[in-house]
Symmetry: C2
Subunit: 187 residues, 2 copies
DNA sequence: TTATAGATTGACTGATCACTCTATAAAATT
DNA sequence: AATTTTATAGAGTGATCAGTCAATCTATAA
């Protein structure tokens, strides 16, 4: 890891544990093993660091989702892959997943550029559009389908991290809950 | 409003807009129209204020849910009432609803006593238990049902606040989405 | 009327924090 | 080899903030 990565990793760890307020930049630098000034060489301000960390984390998630994407698949399988990959990534990267949610309910969210937002929702939006034009979903507003999907992932995730199931049982739960979701949203 | 309430109202408003970090106690006192010291007369520390505000807000929501509770109703209607009341309260109290979520993804959550947590989930837990013992739900873990329910409310709420629908259309959406949820969870 | 307790004030303080600045080393470019 | 650019360090600074404190006011009880 180079120093920039060290700083990001340290910031993530401390933000999740102590919140944005509770973690001074000095502690981040210390945890990262760099000098105070080095942090500000890579990130102009603390807020810059927070927003950059968010975009970087979202990029990681999106890269993981794209890995399982297969244009040959049916729409249902494409959605299932995204659903499964999202939850798997969340389980394998709990601090990162928590950080994303923490960020969403912070004033820093307003600092994310609209291009970055677009980039991070493109995949979902495309899939939903396809499903609607193929007349697969129940007659509901696209935004509502998207929100319900997000809420479902959120709810199932909360459950999965609150229980100690074997990875196999977790995979099974993810399969089953996708079945519930799909049945709820499609005709 | 007495001074304690003024302080809570000011804190809520500022926390939602600027985050816990971004709002100094001095600004809260000013917004509330009281002296600095008065804030610390009612709340020993800033953290105390944050946690007290959370418990107070949750109490408001719970009181509202209990208003529509009717022991005579069927289980389905009891759940529907809670679902509808939750969303209606959220729409009528956006800052309060946002604050609850913001708090959930903050380190302050750990400071809520287990009694307070129990108090605030009792109603839901009771209903779920009843549904399970009456064999109404699909064979899923109780915790999972609860999490999916929470996720569904969360998702539908995000949709409702992101669109400008008439109150009638919103009520209709709430009805419809309860139907989806109920069909998904029951046999 | 007096005594006591609680409410309210706002100036003050010690600590902390984000960020700067200067110096130096390393790397890249000419 | 000379020069410019980038990386790194860490002491230093001005501002800010949570919380204190002594003084005053208010209300109730004795």
């Amino acid at each position: 890891m180079n120093k920039e990565e060290e700083i990001r990793a340290a910031a993530l760890k401390l933000f999740v544990e102590f919140g944005f307020h509770g973690t001074p930049t000095s502690k981040i630098a210390k945890e990262a093993g760099v000098a105070n000034g080095t942090l500000f060489h890579y990130f102009k301000t603390k807020e810059d660091l927070i927003v950059a960390l968010y975009n970087h984390t979202k990029d990681s998630l999106n890269r993981h989702l794209l890995e399982t994407y297969n244009a040959e698949n049916t729409l249902k399988d494409k959605m299932k892959n995204i659903y499964v990959s999202s939850l798997e990534w969340g389980l394998a990267h709990k601090p990162e997943f928590y950080f994303i949610q923490q960020f969403h309910f912070s004033p820093h969210l307003a600092k994310v550029s609209s291009e970055d937002i677009e980039k991070q929702t493109r995949l979902h939006v495309e899939l939903l559009r396809a499903g609607i034009s193929e007349n697969i979903f129940k007659p509901l507003p696209a935004q509502l389908i998207s929100s319900i999907l997000g809420g479902h992932v959120y709810g199932v995730y909360q459950y999965l991290i609150s229980t100690q199931l074997t990875p196999e049982k977790k995979a099974e739960m993810i399969e089953d809950t996708f079945g519930l979701l799909w049945a709820m949203l499609t005709k």
